[in-house]
Subunit: 195 residues, 2 copies
Amino acid sequence: MRKGDATKARILDETARQAAVKGFGAVSLNDVAEAVGLSKSGLFKHFESKEVMELATLDQGFDRFVEFVWTPTQALPPGRPRLEKIFDRWLDWSEVENAAGGCLIVAASVELDDQPGPLRDLLIRRTKQWRKALAREVKALRDPQLSDEEAAVVIFQMKSYVLGHADGKRLMGDSTARKAARAAFAALLDRAAAG
Amino acid sequence: MRKGDATKARILDETARQAAVKGFGAVSLNDVAEAVGLSKSGLFKHFESKEVMELATLDQGFDRFVEFVWTPTQALPPGRPRLEKIFDRWLDWSEVENAAGGCLIVAASVELDDQPGPLRDLLIRRTKQWRKALAREVKALRDPQLSDEEAAVVIFQMKSYVLGHADGKRLMGDSTARKAARAAFAALLDRAAAG
DNA sequence: ACAGAAAGTGACCGATCGTGCTCTTTGAGC
DNA sequence: GCTCAAAGAGCACGATCGGTCACTTTCTGT
């Protein structure tokens, strides 16, 4: 049962790639199977349906995101240094790690925000989970910890800059997007620490 | 040739609605035709292909956007009052005017950023055009007008807040998103006017 | 009112969609 | 090394995809 796991992982990776590019709704089993080097029916030995495959893809997408953006920052001291690293990794996530296709989570968020179903449920659940982890990091910015409301303000603007960066860099090819995002975020941290 | 124009407009509206919900890549002629009350082949009397229909849809989408967000603000004095109104209308655009489906332009931006073709070309062209109009409004924030670079910083953050607002409100149902966006934007204008 | 164009229908095309079925190959545990 | 399940191929299915064509209905300009 080891060979199967490796194939499964390749399927999930490929599905994630295609979903980030074309959207979940436009991914076809044929394209995925071909890219992975399988027959279409071979996919069904790993997932009982397309929907289950999509769910697994999005779930693994979040795992990869947290692993890439959050995990490596836990070695740093809490507060500003850690948060700056998280932000930087977050920008890397869409600009470098997923240069082709962009961030799967952003793509899914825009696509699924008005399409009820298990896929959207999963997306919302894991986004909330991520938000919680992020809130803990943000609150540690000041010695008397930031309140929930203060942290929410910081998170809103932080995520906004991430989205702005992705929009500017990926669609418009704006090479200054990263600098703009970093500057805006640094100013935000200054305000948060002072306020 | 008057009846045809009305039908054409209904087709474009419906296509825009569906594209905003499911993405351009997942819109089918059958669904559009059915929703408009036409046969599938009837669509081809108005557009020679699906791609042409999509192009017309996105183009009209931008027209509607500018008409809704920008046009009504031109009665206000340039600078801060006008820009605040633009921002407000922009939030309304995705939260109220397009409550079901969200902003077509945002959806298209995320979907098409890595899919070359005429549709993406059109998207980029019209986005640049909008950015230019926006830059004029932003520069008028201060008496010695803001420089290009200063305006770019403001526009980056402004658009970031719009995206953050859409993300928070539409996907997560966060009812405080609008307040957060407005507060962040007001602070941005303060900084821009002072700096 | 009449002619001709515009608007719209229905049947059909080949291709592709997700999925089930049977069959063969392959790999892992004893 | 044998066995048996896991992994995968191949084919076929009904539905739907974008698109064409011949035909009918409806509107509009004169």
